[in-house]
Amino acid sequence: MPRTPSPAQAGRIRSSLKAYRLFAYVTGVFLLILVVEMAFKYGPLIWQEYGYELELGGTQGFLAFVPSDSITAVNLSVAIQIAHGYCYVGYLITDFILVQRMGWRITRFLVIALGGVVPGLSFFMEARVTREVDASLESLTPKEGAAA
């Protein structure tokens, strides 16, 4: 018998869904930025000796793509990488809590976790997860609108 969430859990499921969705969006956006960043850093190596990184508040202006080795001010590229790392950890934690509360199989956790690794996939994953959780919550709670 597969486990199903109880009606009393609906509130907790809803809040964990909210947390998961927040991290899914933030991590997804960071990942897309990272893809652009990597393209700038490694792409030019095909035809020249150096790539570019994003510098904040350097000599080339407030925000500028500059050759990787020439950064003296804040290396925004690295800052984004670090921020993405922390966000992904938050994504994994909220993913796990949601899967736990929904009583889903643990493989579901792994699938959602991988969704945060492939650029762009987290948005589709998030939409599907939200749809399923909503549907399952609806079947749990008696239709209040219909009763009235």
Partner: protein, 277 residues
Amino acid sequence: MPAPATPPTLWSVARRPKYLGLLAVTLLVAAIFAGLAQWQFSRSLSTGPVVERDTETVQPLTALDAPQVGVDGDAIGHRVTARGALVPGDETVLTRRVQGEETGAWVVGHLAVETPDGVASLAVALGWAPTEEQAAEVAESLDADTAEREWAGRYTQDEGPQESDFEAGERRSLSTGDLINVWDEVEPAGAFGGYLIAADAPEGLEVIASPAPATETGLNWQNFFYFLEWIFFGLFALYIWYRMVKDAWQEEQPSDDAEDVVAEDAVTVPEPARPEK
């Protein structure tokens, strides 16, 4: 739901070839993670080679460094002795010198020391005073002290002159290159690149704090947390395998209608009773 005659136990599910295979994969992943954990742990203990050198055995300055050459790396921070006398009138006061948590002033003297190459100039930080006025007073009184004697202290690399605000007539850093311009004249054998922090201060001044240079590298906390992180990932991999087995086992448990009715109003879903092993 068609239920099997006897529901499988958790243990029997775990022993199925599928889950044994998954266990092998899980253990491989956990082993890789353990290897990474060990690597991070060793890195957390030793990042950057530690150069062990003895700076606390007092040696004659002339054995470690010579005038008119760049300061020798091994001489920096070493406790030394030098024989010589203060050159009267060559005292300088440096402002904004920090001692503990207080900001005050240093009195710096010009020492004429004996070296194998002849008499050479050595800057000596004599002591610290809480105010510039107090330091200046002591500096003046030192003009009478011209006796040659044994000086002891710690030999240190000099600072850049950039810190000083010369336009305002303020001298903040101890730069030998700068002091040479202040002194009446440099001794025949030239000047030492570094300076001496005197172990004893003249009356009216505090001894300048100069602890031994730190040589130990402590625990690298960043690598240590990576180490904990890999341990956690390894354990989590094993937990995921356990959950896979449990999920499969749970789905094969016969559905109990009576239990379902209870579950309708229950606060939490009652777990199906786990069979005794």
